[in-house]
Each structure stands twice: as C-alpha cells, then as structure tokens.
Amino acid sequence: MIKKKLRECLIKTFPKERIKNNIDDLKVGSFKKWDSLAHLNLLLLVEKKFKIKFSIDEMTSLKKISQIINKIKKK
C-alpha cells in the first residue's frame, strides 16, 4: 500500500516520466527532472498523501525511495 501511494506521488511529481512498478531503487537523479527542488516537491506531496510530517533532518537526508518507505513505516 505504501509503495502504491508513493508511486502515485512520483507520477504526480514527474508526469512526463514513465514510473516503473518497482520503485525501490529510485532516487534523486533517477530522472533528469528529479533535482533537489523537485525532490522537495515530492516530499511535500508524500507528507500530504500520508498525513505525516518530516523533520528538517529527514527532509534534507531522505534521498532514496527506499529510505522514504522505511521512514513512512516508522511514522
């Protein structure tokens, strides 16, 4: 369920990219448009979608989808 919702966030943030089903190995830079600012937009969308808040440390250190998944599980 987490991965499905996270994939929806990726699709919304990067509408021109074809997001594969297995998103585990994706990270900042996986697509050309996935830069630091786009990544922040993704994290904000994740916060909204999962009704959670990341700390500043988390916002500046979560760079991989696998890390985001783990963090959501702990929230």
Binding site: D35, S36, L40, N41, I56
Partner: protein, 132 residues
Amino acid sequence: MKFHHIGIFTKSISYGKKQILSFLTVKNISKVYYDTSLGVKVLFIKDKSNIIYEIVSPLGKKNPVKKVIKENNNILNHIAYKVKNFDKKIINLRKNGFAPLIKPTRAIAFKKKRVCFFLTPLNFIIEIIEDD
C-alpha cells in the same frame, strides 16, 4: 519577518558586481564573505532605494551555485528575511508546507547567525536569517 535582501547567483563576484553596478545607483558595497559551510562567496550591494542585493558565487567543489548557473535557472535565487524567534518560525513554516533545502546553518556573512532556506508552496525560495 523583515525583508533583508534578494539573492542572485552568479559565476563570480566580480562579474555579478559589474552587472549590478551597470544599471543601479549604489549606496554601499560590502566586503566579500567566504563561507565554506554554505559553499559560497557573497557580496552585498545596497542601492539608492535601500534594496540589498546579495551576489552569490561558488566556493569549493560542493556548492549550491554551480548547478543553478549551468542550468541557467533560478538565477534570481531567493528572497531573504530577518526573523525573531528563528526556531518558532521554522516550525511555523513547516506547518504551512514550506520545505527546508538545508539544515539551519551558521552564516559567516551574518556574524554566524543561523540561516535556513525553504522552498515555498509557491515554488520559490526564501532564506530566513536569525535576528538578534
């Protein structure tokens, strides 16, 4: 929040300064500050209407300027504000959907007061500077 400056990214301080001086009447120019924590060199220019422009150029290999210059995007980079209650302001900005670009960092140009950069929900960048 009190407006402080507009941050402009440039390949070098001398080039940025030359360009600003070519179209503005300037009141004051600061010294150049070298900030290894933030990876930038900065210079402040105050114009006749008391608007302060912060000219920001790269310092070291790991810096936030290089990519911006290369992509020619976000050159007019950020608007900076001085804030009282820095910690409370950060919590408040986070509540309102502002995303931090870096952890709060002490800035050489502001007497080692803390600064933090946020992407606003309107998709532009602001800097907050800890005020006395």
